[in-house]
Each structure stands twice: as C-alpha cells, then as structure tokens.
C-alpha cells in the first residue's frame, strides 16, 4: 500500500477524496487553507450540489425563508473538483472508490424532485473509479423508519432543501386544493373532509420535528388564516413521539415549557405513540387495547432519527458500532479496521452486497482514511448532531493544514459542547447550553442572531435577515413554485 502511495505521489500531487457535502464534509472543505488546496489534488463526491443549512430548513419549508437562504452551492472553485455522483463501492485496500453520476445533464424537461434512484439505475453504465491517497468519509445518514410500513411512500422527510421544497409545495397545495374543491359555505360532511385534508402529522418530537410543527403553526395562524379563514380554523397539527417527552435532549424544564406552549397553541402532542403504518390516508397509531386507529392526515412529516447509509452498512472489514452500524474511528478520527481483513486486503464494500454482521480480530487505525459526522462514532459516542460533524470537519482540516502532504493529528479530537437551540414558534425559542438555559423571546432573538452569524456565506448573512424583514412587512411567502 505504501508503495502505491509513493507511486501516485511521484506521478503528481497526492489525491485527497472527500465523500459528502453535509455538515462534516462542508466544514472540512471550507476550512482547508489555500496552501493546503494548492498542494493536493482534491476531489469531492456528493449526490447533492449544495450544502443544506439544516437548522433553517423548517423555516424554509414554511415560507419564512427563501430556499436559497438555507443552501450553499458547492462549486469547483478553490481548486476543488466536484463530482456530482453517488459513491457505490469502496475498496480501502486498493484505495479506489466507484461512483455513479447523480446528475443527468442531458435532456430532462421536468421535475427536479423526482427521486434520484431511477436515474441512478439508468446511469449505472457510466460508473467510474476514482483513486485516492487520502480519503475523508462524511456521507452522513439516512432517515430511520424502523421498518414502519408506508413511510417512504407516503411521508416526507426534512433533511435537505429539496425536502423543504416538497413540504412547502404540499402545505400550500393542501390549502389551495381544499379551497378549490370545497366552496363555501362548508357542509358538515365537507368539514369532515377538510379536517382530514388539512390534518398535519409530524412524527418525531426532536428539535427538527418540534421546530417544524411550531413553524407550521405560525404559517397557518399568521398567514394562511388571512387567506383562507374558513379553512385554517379546521387545520390541525399533531406531534407524535415514541418517548415520554418531546425535545428530550433538552433540559427537562425547557422541554416542559415547550409542551405547555404547544398545548396553548393547539398543537396536539401525542407521547408514547406507537405507529403501525403510514398510508395515503394518514397514520395508523396503536391504541392501548392492541388495535390501531387511523389518524387522518393530508401530510405526514417523518423525523424520528437516523440510520446508516447503504455504503456504510455495506463496508466489510471495518470496526462498527453494534446497533447503529456506524463506523468506529479512533480519537484522531482515523477509521478502525480489523487486522486480519486488512492483511488479506478485504476492507471493501459495495451497496449491492451487504456486509456480514460480525468480523473478528484486533482493530488498527487506517492512517489515510478518516470518517466524520453521522456515518462514524467513537469509543465514547457523541450525539449525532450538526455541531459534532462541524467540529470534526474543522479539526480534520486543521490536521491537513498543518501538514498537507503527511496529515497526521498530534492531538485527539475534543468536542466542545456549545449547547443546543430550538425555536418553538411565536417568536420564542429554547436555549440549553453549558453557560446557561433560557427560553422565550430573548432566547429567540439569540437564536436568530446565532443562525445569522453561522450562515455560511456573506450572501446568506445578508439574505436571512432580509427574508425576516420582508416577512415583518408582507408576511410569509405563500407562492408555490
């Protein structure tokens, strides 16, 4: 293997390949210095052409922010070659990855939101290989459905800007379509139908689900009620969680506060919810008597947690966390691999061939491969948050910046918990940080300021407050496009 590296290096610059442009990958790329970039041949592989600023997605999905305020396009500037592609197979011994283009830039007259899978299948013929000397894996995670039937077909997720756009389209078209189909005055039977069409169910009471429910409430009560007063009064929002509380990662007092606020707002929080299936009629929820009841809904948003991406599951020969299948890294974020697999050159995976469940032998770090963000974990697990991924990305960039051609960390990675925030609607937010806890309007102002400062580009530092100002004057954007 060393031989390979030297050969490649003599043929030109050392090749750094980065998989993924989420919080981990984007932070890593952004923090690489100009000098580091000039000394390496850097390639980025990602199935999406932009980084989604996830904390603002709930707002983008409800018209509070433009979609473009929540995304940063990934470009090929700064000497980075961007491959708009899926990584389908990895061979860590031969130091190669196989990728399939994710875009079909030839004719495609319609539909940006069609699922990428069919296209991917069509284009499999064009799969190609990329070799690397250094590999940074930041492929993130998928939405967990826990095998619940019908979720993928009937529910919407909220992981990137195209999800936010689909949700917004659905909310507005639910109101527009109901308004067109049920002329005033509404009969009793009509009212029942309208309630079903305008029932919104959010599954998962974590920050994403809770923020989305709150934002949707504000959109309906502050904006859509002006346009459709007779419909908005029949709309309902239900927030379901399998646990004993929503926002369970927050301080108990703050979570209580949020629950009380939601109760006042009329957002129905359903705890200990067990979901059997999701259909095009709504959500089937288990009742205490063992049967199931249909909670009718016009839209279901699913945000219950994460599961490993197919390529993460498929890789054999690496050390993995038992239940989550996440790859294990050492404290310097180098991937841990099983010694026998390494010796036999068997550290590889292909999304079409799932890996065997268990592998034996001592583990050793692979010094030219790093894994950051949701696809990876460590002996002491950290939460699967943007903050962790972001800090790991910056840490790793510092390692490369210190010695671009021989990156090797001196110090282990240390996570600095800066706390968490969640908006809960009506200009209120929760802040739970090591330096203090706060809730209400001041917390909301802090929350807004923090995200304005964090917004990754100057363009968005300008756009986000401009959007908010425009909302004050004209309300949220209710045009559907």
């Amino acid at each position: 293997m060393r031989g390979t590296i030297v050969r490649m290096a003599t043929a030109g610059k050392r090749r750094l390949v980065v998989l993924g442009t989420g919080w981990g990958g984007y932070a890593f790329l952004k923090s690489l210095s100009r000098s580091t970039l000039s000394q390496l041949d850097v390639k980025v592989v990602s199935p999406t052409t932009s980084f989604s600023f996830t904390p603002l997605l709930a707002q983008a999905s409800c018209g509070t922010l433009d979609f473009r305020s929540a995304l940063e396009p990934i470009h090929s500037t700064r000497g980075i070659a961007f491959h708009h592609a899926w990584c389908d197979a990895l061979d860590l011994c031969k130091q190669r990855i196989e990728v399939t283009p994710a875009s079909k830039p030839e004719f495609r007259p319609a539909d940006p939101l069609t699922p990428t899978s069919p296209t991917r299948a069509q284009e499999r013929a064009t799969t190609y290989s990329i070799g690397y000397d250094y590999l940074v894996v930041a492929v993130g995670s998928y939405n967990a459905t826990y095998g619940t039937e019908g979720v993928k077909e009937n529910a919407l997720f909220l992981k990137d800007v195209s999800d936010a756009r689909a949700i917004r389209w659905r909310i507005l078209s639910a109101f527009e379509g109901t308004n067109a189909a049920y002329p005033q005055p509404l009969s009793k039977e009509d009212e029942e139908q309208v309630r079903a069409r305008l029932g919104f169910v959010v599954v998962g009471g974590g920050p994403t689900g809770a923020e989305f429910a709150a934002e949707l409430h504000d959109l309906i009560r502050q904006d859509l009620t002006k346009i459709y007063p007779h419909l908005a009064r029949l709309a309902s929002i239900k927030l379901l969680d399998a646990g004993k509380s929503i926002l369970s990662s927050f301080d108990k007092g703050l979570a209580e506060y949020a629950m009380q606020k939601f109760a006042r707002d009329g957002i129905e929080v359903v705890l200990n919810a067990r979901i059997n299936s999701v259909t095009d009629q709504g959500v089937w929820v288990q009742n205490p008597h063992g049967g199931a009841e249909l909670m009718r809904a016009g839209m279901v948003v699913w945000s219950t947690g994460i599961t490993a991406a197919p390529i993460v599951k498929a890789l054999r020969g690496v050390a993995k966390e038992d239940r989550s299948h996440k790859w294990l890294t050492d404290a310097k974020l180098n991937l841990l691999v099983h010694q026998p697999a390494r010796d036999k050159g068997e550290i590889r995976g292909n999304i079409h061939q799932p890996a065997p469940d268990k592998q034996e032998g001592d583990v050793v770090p692979m010094t030219n491969v790093w894994a950051i963000g949701d696809c990876s974990s460590q002996a002491t697990p950290l939460p699967a948050t943007a903050q962790v991924a972001n800090q790991k990305g910056s840490y790793l960039a510092a390692v490369f910046n210190a010695s671009p051609t021989h990156p090797s960390a001196q110090e282990p990675f240390k996570f600095k918990d800066k706390g968490s925030m969640a908006s809960i609607g009506s200009n209120e937010a929760l802040i739970d940080s090591p330096v203090g806890k706060d809730k209400g309007a001041l917390a909301w102002l802090l929350w807004r300021s923090a995200y304005t400062i964090m917004a990754m580009s100057w363009r968005n530092r300008f756009l986000v407050p401009a959007n908010w100002a425009s909302n004050l004057l004209f309300g949220r954007d209710v045009g559907r496009f």
Copy 2:
C-alpha cells in the same frame, strides 16, 4: 336564456365566472371594486394558482430574480372563490362549464414539475359543473410548435414561473453535471463533448427569446465564468429566427442595434432558420442544399409564437379568426356567435371533440360572455401582448364596476399603445414607444423602473429591487432548488 338568468338571479347573487388568471384575467379581477365583488358571486377557474409576471420570467430563469418576485399567488380573498381546475367543456347556451381539478392535494411526495396531464386524466372522475350568469374568458394561448417534431418532448418553453424554474434547473445542472463528468484538464475530445452539453439554442427571436438569450449570456459571462472558467469559455448561445430579423416588432434601427450588440457579445443570431426537428441531441436545421444539419445543444428554449388553447379550438357556433382560430369579439369585447347556432342552442365545445372548421350564418354578440387576451381577437386585430390583455381586463372591470348586476359597456374598447421594451443584456435595453425610441443604459434604467412600478403587489415592488441590489453585491443566485 333570459329566463334562466332571471331564475338564477332570484335564487341569490348573479354568478360571474372568470376563466384564466393570466394578464387578462388577473387585471380584470384586480380591478373589480369591492362593491362589485360584494354584489356578485365570483368564481375563478384556473389550472395555475398564481399569476406569472411574464416580463420578468427571463430574469427568473437565469437567477437574476427570485421565482417569487415574478409571481403573484391567486387567493380566495376579496370574496372570490378560486377553483384550481381546468375548463374542459363549455356550453354557452345552457350557461355551464365543466371543470376538472388541476391539483391533487392528497399525497404526492415529489415533483411539482411533472406535467399536469397524467394527473388530469386520473382525476377526470371528479369533473364537476359550474353554472354562470356572466362569463369572462381569458384562457390565453399555448406555445406554437408549428407541428415541429420533438419540440414538446425536448424543448423548454418560457410562459410561466414553473417553466422558468425548469430552465434554471437545466442551465445550472448542465454546468454542474459537465463539471463533474469532465475533470480538468480537458482533452480535445472532452472539449467537443463539453461544447455540445453547454450549447444553448433559443428558437424564436421575439422579445421573450431575445431577452432570455441576453440574460443567459450575462449569467454565463458574469457569474458562471467565475465558478467554471474552463467550461464557460466553451459555452455558446444561438438565437434562431425564421424571419429576416430578430425583434421584428420593434423599430428597425433598434432591432439592428440589438443584433450588433448580440454579435459583439458572441450570441450567434441565425436568421431565416428552418427547423426540421428537435431531439435530445439538439436542433436539426435545414441547410440551403435541402439537407439538414444538427446544431448540438444541451438545452433548447422554444418561444416562436402562440396557438389557440384546446378549449378555444373546440368551441363551435362562435365566430373565429380564420388562421389563428381565436374567438372574435365585438368592440365591447362580447363574444360573437353565429345566429343559427345560437337559435339551435349549439354554442358549445369540449376539448375532446374538436369543432368543425367552418360555421355559417350572421354573427351576433352574446351579451353575457366576454373574451379577452390571447384567446380572442377583433375585426381590427391587436398584437397578442400582455399590454393588450391587461388593458382589456381593466376595461371590462370598469364595465362591471359601473353596473355590477347589469354589465353593459357604453363605449367600445380602445387600445392605448404604450410601446414596448426589451432588455438586451449588459444593462442595456430597447424602448420603442409612441413618444420616443431609445436604446442603451438609460433605456435599461427606464425598463427596470417601469417593471418595478408595474409589479403587481407591494411585496414585489419591494422584492424586485431587493433582488437586483443583492445581485450587485453577491452576483446572481446559482443555487439549484
């Protein structure tokens, strides 16, 4: 028929139905007074939920403006019931229309841009009828393809915001995809492929086509060249027209000026172009020797002219313009119908049963039906422009405002030509108006001011200049969503 009107009127308010929310329908609705609206039962039927501000679509399609700056959502405020539906059949004697819902507000996990036709077919079962006492038809027109093979499948149009969005998606994904597929440095063969992928062909040199070509040129030269310098130099724009000049509706000197500007910019103008077909490879153009040559293109935008909508073609018993099939109205915009058809109650049409080509007999105005905009014409034809449709809409609203329950015009409609404008890129525009002709940077400032004032809502009067200011600071928006 008179009997019918009286019966309906005694049962409640008189029913006004408006078909279409383009320039004609939107101007009509917007100009109806509060008092008129309160005295009538007003229903609007349109397959789109927003009015597209067409002069700004070229800019929206190139990221200069947000999509939302070029649209005004149609709502049910002001006592108007909005039916998001297609009008499939008309019976002017029985005073009924048949409509099919255009939205499917139940589950539709993806794809706002899927063509509406399949959905429409699925939903035919839910077709319903709407009766009216007064009918205003403003259904506009379709893009003319002159029977050219492959246009509908492979070319993009530019008539509304969803078209603009599809075009923008395609431009950006052409660059992103090419960038991912052809790593630098490019070989000779690669360069050939890149030229084909980044060839942009615009068919039709009217204001829409010319403005789009100019805007695309600016997007590529001012913004995309910064991100993809090695690709932008290989991109090309061709503007094809079947006639002897582009912008032929403008003063000859101004059209010449635009041609010279385009030549300097490297936009290739091809005149007297005869197009055989459009394929996924590009445009097959006839050469002087009778053969055809392939003009390779990654995207083809088609804006050659208009043709009558199916429902307009299908209506029998009405007077029509010979070649265009547009409905004829009298000077007060009342629909002209053939006397025998009227007597026999045969003034009807269904999009599935095309009307016979010719009908005989004297024509008489139908006093409760008006036709405005591109679907209609008069003895002295006016240009098929937004300006004409807009003025007709306002004129007709004034007729209703004068006597909401017995609308009948005192004076014939008179068109006031306010001239036309077209932007030609690099902050230059053409103005051709009765009070004067101008070109260059000052014309461009006037053009921008005019559209800011014309933007239909205060929201857009704020958003459009805000977009332009943001472009000055940060360049155009190159995020794809």
